[in-house]
Every structure is written in structure tokens, then in C-alpha cells.
Amino acid sequence: MMKTRILLSAALFAFATGAFAASGDSEAGKKKSAPCAACHGENGISVSPEFPNLAGQYPDYIEAALKHYQNGKRKNPIMAAQVKDLSPKDILDLAAYFSKQHALSVKH
């Protein structure tokens, strides 16, 4: 019973802090981001008008986008090739890294 209560309070705490989403390791992500930098820039500020900035984007959005490129929901030949070999952990790490850079903002 006591154990259940501890587990439940931990779950409640995680829920309250929005910590349910698995989070990536931004340092690891930085190391994996070299192929991204060619188009999206070293800090996620893209080098060309047609490539989106990633710096400061929400990590869960980046994660969803990368998964959508993997599963074909989002179609882009360049991105499809890039994400082919990414593991779920790679995706989380990359999302963590780019979301910690600064450029994008919520605009009303």
C-alpha cells in the first residue's frame, strides 16, 4: 500500500511537471547534429531560405517531424534519407539540442 502510494505520487509529480515526455540529451544531440548543420546551420539557424530554422523549436515538435519523415507521413526526399538510420534516442537527443538554441519564438 505504501509502495503504491509512493509510485502514485511519483506519477502524479511527473504528470504535474509535464515530465512524461522522454527527454533527450542535448550534449549527445550536438554531437549527432553535424549532418543537420549542412542545411539547418550549426546552431539550427538555417543557411538557406527554404530550410527551416530549428533553433528554439519545441523538442516534441522536432521529434514528431523527424518521426513523420521516418514513417512517410511527411514526404521530403532529403529528409527521408537523413532520418532513415536515426534511432528514437537519436531523435530525442537532436530535438533536445536544437530546442535549446535560440531563434524561434511564439508570435501572436
Binding site: 530554422n53 519545441y58 515538435y61 511564439v106
Partner: protein
């Protein structure tokens, strides 16, 4: 003939620069009513079954935003809400919105 030439000239210039017709950010500002309800609210999320925060648009590349809206409009990019909204946007609306959201200078790596 003269007027035709005058009309064609700007088009030729635009084509030469590979330009997206530049949008009007001020006009775009008056067209954001359908965007704000999600993209204007920090941490706003998509609905079940797949939940993630809707992307930040402030400071995004205008050409990327316009390509995304056109892909939603054509159905190439799937998301029911965005498809419904993009369906009613003209090319001019799209360029104006892209200019509005992209208008913030973000081309520095400045850390905040």
C-alpha cells in the same frame, strides 16, 4: 504591346531572382486570425492521438512557411486542421503570412 512589356518585366525579374513573390508582413498581420488560436499560444498542443506542441512560427524562414502552407493546401502534407485552413488561403495570403511570421530577425546565433 508596351503595357504588356511593362507587365512582363516584373515577372521576368522575379523569375530571374527565383523569388517567391515577396509577401507583405503588414497585410499578413491582418490575416493571422486562423493561426493565432494554436500558433499564438505558448505550449499549445495538437489533439489526441498524436500529441505534441504546435511549432513556433516567429522567426521562421518565410520561404519555408509558404512551402509548408502550399503543401498543406495541396494535401501533400497531412494534418487535417492545417489542410482545412490552408485550403482557403490564396497565394497572396500565404506569402503575406509567411512574411509576417518570418519578419523577426533571427539570422544571428545570439544566445538569449
Amino acid at each position: 504591346m508596351q503595357s504588356l512589356r511593362i507587365l512582363l518585366l516584373p515577372a521576368a525579374i522575379a523569375a530571374a531572382f527565383g523569388a517567391h513573390a515577396a509577401g507583405d508582413a503588414a497585410a499578413g498581420k491582418n490575416k493571422v486570425f486562423q493561426c493565432q488560436g494554436c500558433h499564438g499560444i505558448a505550449d499549445w498542443k495538437t489533439a489526441f492521438p498524436e500529441v505534441y506542441r504546435v511549432p513556433k512560427l516567429g522567426g521562421q524562414k518565410p520561404a519555408y512557411i509558404s512551402a509548408a502552407l502550399k503543401a498543406y493546401k495541396s494535401g501533400e502534407r497531412e494534418f487535417a486542421t492545417m489542410r482545412a485552413i490552408a485550403a482557403d488561403l490564396s497565394d497572396k495570403d500565404i506569402e503575406d503570412l509567411a512574411a509576417y511570421y518570418g519578419a523577426e530577425a533571427v539570422n544571428t546565433a545570439e544566445k538569449k
